[in-house]
């Protein structure tokens, strides 16, 4: 009797189990169609480019090796970066730099070297202290090498490589890269110093408007009044601070790729770095021109630090008045006769 009851109970549960399982098995398809939901490259690529969620990102998945960036399967943005680097970057760079050189050449042959109208006075006035000159040349020296080594990366293979041959050029480029990486740091230090020392003198004010209205005396002649820095110099100052700041920020990201956050960020910072660099280089060419061959007596300000009093009166009249009031300029009589 007991055995029969147990078998009945077992049969009952078995029947329930079959009853529950039956609908589930009925839902199983007869064959599997893997293409029904198969992921196709083209669909994913279109999704990336069509402004849908995920657009502007890479096509990535899951990876088992311990390198998260390897999870990017395809990044079509690389093609766009290539097109920029081999196209717009070359054009913008060439036009900015050669254009500036051309404009300066035209300016030199039309306007000529800007002379001191009242001639040399023989009296000197201290314009930049030793420390000011030091931070200027620290930044300037680094900038020149950074600019040349940077231009080399973009233009070197077209300009320098044919002259040197590929092996010698690669050795040069390797050295230039190391110089670029290391000199970036003293350059950034120079930027900080220049900002701290000169920012007070570079705040725009009403005299700048007059200066700009009169073309700074560069066009048409005349000598609009200016304090320690005229409007043109203030433009240079802020271009160096803002441009140099952007170069530093983007450069640090490029130097430490892991900190930038992926290849798309690196492409972006590279574009920023390249464009800001060529524009700043073009500005610095103009700065070098007017500080050397373009104007009589200007270079003294950054070499000996002492400029001729007549030069100072013509180009920085308000600054001379301030300095005279402080009694900083030597009276003419105190100068030894030459």
């Amino acid at each position: 009797m007991r055995v029969t009851l147990r078998s009945l109970v077992a049969a009952f549960f078995l029947a329930i189990a079959v009853f529950i399982a039956a609908p589930a098995s009925a839902q199983q398809p007869n064959s599997v169609n893997p293409t029904a939901a198969s992921v196709k490259e083209q669909q994913l690529m279109q999704a990336l480019q069509a402004g849908t969620p995920g657009a502007g990102s890479t096509l990535s998945g899951r990876i088992t090796i311990p390198d998260a960036s390897a999870a990017n399967l395809i990044q079509p943005q690389g093609q766009a970066w290539r097109a920029f680097h081999q196209g717009a970057m070359l054009w913008v760079g060439a036009i900015a730099i050669l254009g500036m050189l051309g404009m300066l050449a035209v300016f030199y042959f039309t306007r000529g070297k800007i002379m001191i109208d009242s001639g040399l006075s023989g009296v000197k006035i201290l314009r930049f202290s030793t420390f000011e000159r030091f931070i200027h040349w620290l930044t300037a020296g680094c900038f020149i090498i950074l600019a040349l080594s940077g231009l080399n990366v973009t233009f070197g293979k077209f300009v320098v490589a044919p002259l040197l041959g590929e092996d010698a050029f690669a050795t040069l480029a390797q050295g230039a890269k190391i110089a670029h990486n290391f000199l970036a740091w003293p350059f950034m230090l120079g930027l900080v110093f220049m900002f701290v020392v000169w920012v007070f003198h570079n705040i725009p004010n009403s005299t700048d408007i007059t200066w700009i209205k009169q073309g700074g005396g560069l066009v048409g002649g005349g000598h609009p009044p200016a304090k320690k820095f005229n409007a043109g110099q203030k433009v240079i100052f802020w271009a160096v601070i803002i441009g140099g700041g952007l170069l530093s920020l983007s450069g640090v990201y490029l130097l430490f790729p892991a900190s930038a956050g992926g290849v798309l960020a690196l492409q972006f910072w590279n574009i920023v770095h390249g464009l800001v660099a060529v524009l700043l280089i073009a500005m610095m060419i103009a700065h070098i021109y007017i500080g050397s061959v373009g104007m009589q007596g200007a270079a003294d300000a950054m070499t000996s630090g002492e400029v001729d009093l007549n030069w100072a009166k013509e180009h920085h009249s308000l600054w001379v008045e301030e300095e005279m009031a402080k009694g900083k300029a030597l009276p003419p009589a105190a100068q030894p006769a030459e």
Partner: protein, 198 residues
């Protein structure tokens, strides 16, 4: 000469990572660098597919176009190789590469980029074929020995194919026609501006 390509049949790849391991072992690839990797898309969802990816040896290779020192060259078999003698480790090929192939050992200034390393299609580099120096810099040169890349040769499901473009395209087409589906020749449109029409 052949036009060498890779083709990963994603419908066959089982993400065993044998290709990754084989590559690292065959070439004694430096620590931290994987010349080949397997990426799984739609992981755990319907339509999950794994794709083994390395340098695709592109036609009109972006890396070669942007390289500031022209260290890349394309062999007669259409394999894109580079010279570590010339490479300066600037990172530009990495920005341009659609497949994330170029990688840099962390040995250089500020612990960032050394000489670039990438898949050589088991074809070594510009140094003498199968020399010790070539092996040290680029790894084994199987192509010079008449062998195909090891990753594809030892793929357990024959998902990863390596060989002449026409030949592997024909194999893939036959597979797709027979089984009735295929998720496409991954990366071909990007690398070669053409894909396999079925």
């Amino acid at each position: 000469m052949a036009r060498m390509k890779f083709l990963c049949d994603a419908d066959r790849c089982i993400e065993c990572n044998a290709c990754v391991t084989a590559c690292k072992n065959e070439h004694d690839v430096p620590w931290g660098i994987n010349r080949r990797r397997v990426v799984t898309l739609n992981d755990g969802k319907p339509g999950e597919r794994s794709i083994s990816m390395a340098c695709m040896h592109c036609t009109d290779a972006p890396c070669a176009a942007v390289c500031p020192v022209n260290c890349f060259y394309t062999t007669a078999d259409a394999v894109v190789l580079h010279s570590k003698e010339l490479c300066i480790g600037c990172g530009y090929c990495f920005y341009a590469c659609p497949f994330g192939a170029p990688q840099y050992p962390r040995v250089s200034n500020f612990g960032t980029r050394g000489k670039m390393d990438k898949c050589t299609y088991c074809a070594g580099g510009p140094l003498a074929d199968n020399s010790t120096a070539e092996y040290a810099a680029y790894g084994a040169n199987r192509l010079a020995q008449g062998k195909l890349p090891l990753c594809a040769e030892m793929c357990s499901t024959k998902a990863l194919l390596a060989g002449d473009s026409d030949m592997i395209a024909t194999i893939y087409k036959e597979r797709v026609l027979k089984r009735g589906y295929g998720s496409g020749a991954w990366g071909w449109q990007t690398a070669y501006k053409e894909t396999i029409a079925i």
